[in-house]
Symmetry: C2
């Protein structure tokens, strides 16, 4: 690196000289450390403040961080590109919430874009990561790397995951969506309409979000029936073969595809079959159909994650919480056909 540019930038020493006090005093005034041990008379304080005002001085955040160990910078690590297109805008609302709360708290966001993509995946702990530049970090993504999580926990680095995560060598702080409850409610409404045979269309395992949805389902029907997702035609086959009267689609897009195919085959939704969706589309799924299901409180999750993170940074203890999903009345659930 070249020698530090002769940046003609003001330092506390400059301010001190101008105000006729010591650098220490400037620092004290700046941080309102007037209480306790140090007492600075209003006159001196005002003089310093005036100089600061006039010169437009601002403390160097890097130096501040170095000396004080904090810098009000929150990291955001996304396991998918931050500004995605492939995932539609699934992550967008999370980011909006994160940004909102950060602004409110006077924090800046550091996007860890320098994380190189290896094998199509990003890793927090890559060669020369810069985690420590931020006070803490919000993790975002469908599937977080278990090793990353374990190391974060082990190193006691302050972080909060958006989305529930299983333990990883320790408790993982998260703000998740309460899928079990949401799915449970959906099943209850479905059964209340007379549906006896309700299937779950999806993997039901893999990412925690799938597992949780399936758990909510399995725990609220007497005989769980899981159908694998796949090509639209295949899914339709499986559903029809199963002889069920309602289907819960783990992935919104699968629900859309299924409904499409069924429609073309003359099977009416919800006339012949009810189709419910378990969350928002994670991939583009254009449709005119208004699905019954629930919405993930994405924005709120983002907000809460930042909130929990700042707590954590300030010495709080890790928190795990699930936020309720919102039931959305649509047009794809109807009483079972006689």
């Amino acid at each position: 690196m070249p020698p530090p540019v002769p940046s003609r930038r003001l330092t506390q020493r400059d301010i001190a000289r101008l105000a006729g006090v010591s650098q220490t005093t400037v620092s004290l005034v700046l941080n309102n450390r007037a209480d306790a041990e140090s007492r600075i008379p209003a006159e001196t304080r005002d003089r310093v403040l005036r100089v600061i005002q006039e010169t437009g001085y601002v403390a160097d955040p890097a130096a501040r961080r170095l000396a004080a160990g904090r810098n009000r910078i929150l990291g955001v690590f996304t396991y998918e590109p931050v500004f995605p297109s492939a995932t539609g805008d699934f992550f967008h609302p999370f980011l909006i919430g994160i940004e909102e709360c950060a602004e409110q708290r006077g924090c800046d966001l550091l996007l860890f874009t320098s994380a190189p993509t290896v094998d199509g995946r990003k890793r927090v702990y890559h060669q020369d990561h810069r985690l420590r530049l931020a006070d803490g970090c919000v993790l975002l993504g469908r599937e977080l790397d278990r090793e990353d999580l374990a190391r974060l926990v082990a190193e006691d680095y302050p972080f909060v995951s958006v989305g529930r995560r299983d333990d990883a060598g320790g408790t993982v702080p998260y703000v998740g969506a309460d899928y079990p409850a949401a799915v449970g409610e959906l099943v209850a409404r479905t059964r209340a309409m007379g549906h006896e045979r309700v299937a779950y269309l999806g993997h039901g395992r893999g990412p925690e979000s799938y597992v949780d949805r399936y758990r909510g389902y399995a725990e609220s029907v007497p005989e769980p029936l899981r159908l694998d997702p796949g090509e639209p035609a295949e899914m339709a086959e499986r559903v029809l073969a199963a002889g069920v009267t309602a289907v819960l689609a783990e992935e919104y897009a699968d629900g859309v595809a299924l409904t499409d195919v069924l429609g073309r085959r003359g099977v009416s939704v919800p006339g012949d079959l009810s189709v419910l969706t378990l969350g928002d589309p994670t991939r583009p799924a254009p449709t005119d159909v208004d699905f019954t299901g629930f919405r993930i409180p994405r924005r709120e999750m983002g907000r809460q994650a930042v909130e929990d993170l700042t707590e954590l940074v300030e010495g709080g203890s890790p928190v795990q919480r699930l936020l309720p999903c919102e039931y959305t009345e649509g047009a794809t659930l109807a009483p079972v056909r006689r």
Copy 2:
């Protein structure tokens, strides 16, 4: 601020101890300063690198910035929310380009979310800004604050604006879209189809992007005719009253609205009137119409801005450049009616 947390974090001193060398040596190895004055034999270097590898040590970017004046962090300041919804996704492509290039260059992005919104506007230089935490900064937004710009220039802070900007007490580095050329080409194509009377629907002043579009228009027709935008019905009135055969819509959304209203009044586009758009929608404007016009090279602009910024940070000189827009063949331009 609380006393520095007893962060059990590795420092170069730790590494040095473990490797049996001095902190200086670690730093030299880390920065590949093997050349020139300092020569470190491969053996020593390997030993140090091994320890770094094993411990997962990373240099503290804040300290780095302080000591060297660089930290490979680029700021992004947006005059609208970074993750917007009101502006549709107009800014999205810029951000994609910025992110791409940053990743490529191994830089992290610092979003200046801490800038509070005052009177509905954000300012770079607010109370306690954190500009200096980054090596430089990309500015994004329809209208940048002139005072901000002037001060950035005056303080010699490395920055690049996305979008052309007028001088502000000095040259403002930017990566803009070549609106004059793009609009000029559009006019030429329109006139080549026999249109004699081509109007410009828009303000033609205010933000540089409007001014530039209008300039491109005014310089390529014999008698410029500007029509104010407004409510859809009003715009239709004005256009019809003007007796023109083609209209250039400064704002995409206005083009959409105009076409809509005309259609409902039985005026066919492009049968009776051609309507061209001058760029991409800056606000949501759903339509099925495929407009003839041009596209702003947003992604490329983002990329280029980051590229220019890194140059600048590394001591290069400010650059101003305009990127060509891409003509888009649509269905709203037709030969003039006889």
